[in-house]
């Protein structure tokens, strides 16, 4: 195991929760609803996983519980943003505050208790002889494989099916979609809920593959980084894959440099992902200043049928 392979594995392991959260964000925002509650949803997914897994010892049950709870929170977000047409930014912020508070409250009883197990690895002997990547494939866990599959499925869904066409129509121009007989509100509800559930799964992956005990606020801003990644990836699942792994690599790079005994204090290494997020967004903003950024056109504006523009 040379340094590069180790770094790649670390990047994938740190990048998978980011990838899942980014995919969830992409689904939500493609439907035209801003999702800033990612941090809170990830925390809720993580704490639910920990509690259910520690209490029941059943991994599948824990994952299902995390998905169910965050889907429910996604419905709250939909209700506020789709039905009540509330301010989507504020609703997301409320979700983040509520999620971090509630997760800290619920997690108090299991704080620091190690989880009874981890994610099963999928050993694929067939892939072992593959140069460079063979090493990796033998070490990936189920959720990582699931996230890779999901990238493909979502890419096909968004760009190559009529469902995806409807989704993009609703996110870009809900009034036209409505005229065409697409059920705008229903589609928004479904995708916001599914997106929230994915972000919750990202939180679950965080504790199962990355930090195996619950600690208050363990996501440390990764939910917000995912919000940024949705923009880097231009709302596109395939790009999300590369962006998430790039950030996973940054995340683990600091840790690796420390192991090598670098003179830079670790605090500065930990700043890298946050600072790079800002810099990359600035670079993209500068580069695309006269080009469309890929933003769903109606992102953030609630759809009201009676209104004519």
């Amino acid at each position: 195991m040379d340094f590069t392979t180790q770094l790649l594995i670390a990047a994938i392991s740190a990048g998978t929760p980011l990838l899942l959260a980014t995919l969830g964000g992409i689904l939500t925002e493609r439907a035209g609803i801003i999702q800033l509650g990612a941090e809170g949803l990830m925390l809720m997914g993580a704490v639910t996983t920990c509690i259910v897994y520690i209490r029941s010892g059943n991994l599948i049950l824990a994952l299902l519980a995390a998905v169910a709870i965050t889907a429910l929170l996604g419905m709250v977000h939909s209700f506020l943003c789709v039905t009540l047409r509330a301010n989507q930014t504020m609703s997301g912020l409320a979700m983040t505050l509520f999620g971090s508070g509630l997760s800290a409250y619920l997690g108090k009883s299991i704080s620091g208790i190690p989880l009874p197990g981890s994610l099963p690895k999928l050993d694929l002997e067939i892939l072992k002889p593959v140069p460079v990547l063979g090493e990796l494939f033998g070490r990936l866990d189920m959720l990582t494989w699931f996230s890779l599959l999901l990238v493909l499925v979502l890419h096909l869904l968004i760009h190559h099916t009529s469902w995806g066409l409807h989704l993009r129509a609703v996110g870009d121009n809900p009034a036209t979609a409505d005229v065409m007989g697409i059920r705008v509100q229903l589609i928004r509800y479904c995708y916001v809920t599914a997106g929230a559930a994915l972000i919750g799964l990202a939180g679950a992956d965080m504790v199962l593959a990355y930090a195996p005990t619950w600690n208050e606020g363990l996501t440390a801003g990764r939910g917000w980084i995912a919000v940024g990644l949705v923009i880097f990836a231009r709302w596109n699942p395939l790009r999300a894959l590369f962006c998430a792994y790039f950030f996973g690599a940054l995340d683990s790079l600091g840790f690796r440099i420390q192991l090598l005994g670098s003179a830079v204090p670790s605090y500065f290494l930990k700043m890298i992902p946050y600072i790079v997020t800002i810099l990359v967004l600035m670079y993209l903003g500068y580069r695309n200043r006269n080009k469309p950024s890929g933003t769903p056109e109606s992102l953030g504006t609630p759809y009201i049928r009676e209104q004519r523009f």
């Binding site: 800033l36 809170g40 709250v76 506020l80 039905t83 009540l84 047409r85 509330a86 301010n87 930014t89 504020m90 609703s91 912020l93 409320a94 979700m95 983040t96 505050l97 509520f98 999620g99 971090s100 508070g101 509630l102 800290a104 409250y105 619920l106 108090k108 059920r183 705008v184 509100q185 229903l186 208050e216 440390a220 801003g221 917000w224 980084i225 919000v227 940024g228 923009i231 204090p265 605090y267 500065f268 930990k270 700043m271 946050y274 600072i275 997020t277 800002i278 967004l281 600035m282 903003g285 500068y286 200043r289 950024s293 759809y303 009201i304 049928r305 009676e306 209104q307």
Partner: protein
Amino acid sequence: MAGRSGRWYSLRLEYDSSRTRSPWWTPILSVVLALLLCAVFIAANGMSPLVVYEKMFRGAFGTSYGFTETMVKAIPLLLCGLGIAVAYRISVWNIGAEGQLTVGAMAATAVTIYFPDLSSFWSITLMLVFGTAAGALWGLMTAVPRTHFGVNELITSLMLNYVALLALDYVVFGPWKDPKGFNFPGSPMFTAAQSLPVLGSTRLHIGLVFGLVAVLVYYLMIRFTRWGYELRLIGANPTAARYAGIHIKKHIIIVMLISGGLAGIAGMAEVSGVTHKLMQGISPGYGYTAIIVAWLAKLNPLGLIVTSVLFGGLIVGGYSVQTIGLPSSISEMLQGAILFFLIAGDMIHRFRIRRSA
């Protein structure tokens, strides 16, 4: 679904977008509903919500000590909330008050470390100037990406919060660590000359005056100056404001400087008035709580004073339930719930039940 056919027997929900003013009691109702919702979670944990809430209320407002503590917590909330309110006037979503407060506290501490022997007047003045400047700079770092690179200020300001907290960790564990502090991460204690004056034997410091003066200035500026008028205009209709020749970019930078500067003052007041040294956890999330403080007050100066005292009480009450074995995060949970009900309440009254023909 309200928008589709919403028929339930012969009743129909109708959305009336012209009803933008929600009634005065929505904030009060949202607090009550949030208390009810969190009561469910408390009860599920096997505690009596009534006991918990009573404990919180008594802890925050029941004794004179509790009340002054509440006021102490209200000071940074008022200053940060005010800064946030200024930015939100023109829909600049600054959620970086936490980081701006942190760098303000750090800059104030830097004055005590590098100029230890100044007179009381010069210490406090320099700390105030540096604290404000650092906070304002942190705000600027959010504003410029927004105005010149089209980067959403939400993400930038939040990322900078994490950067600020890591920088704080670095200085309290590293270069500024108190050599006589038994290896505890924190700066040396401030001298009397570097501390803000307090009221009698309480911990209530002069920062309260900063806060009240800032509120008054905010009110007068918004109400009576050209700048305030332009802010209100941008807030009401940005497109019209742009056609009227108002430089929106310039205003975004100004409000972020003010926003960050005020949070910086809050950070300076916190180290110089309350903790008397820089350490980890200098802010128990003031910057985030201040978002709700501003929103609950509907950005109104008088409302800000009321809500910051209320939320100061919520933080103190959160500490006091720890004595009966509940985590203080209960107050954070309440805050999130209050915000949920508040934004829902702002919209719900726009719906009317109509008999459909």
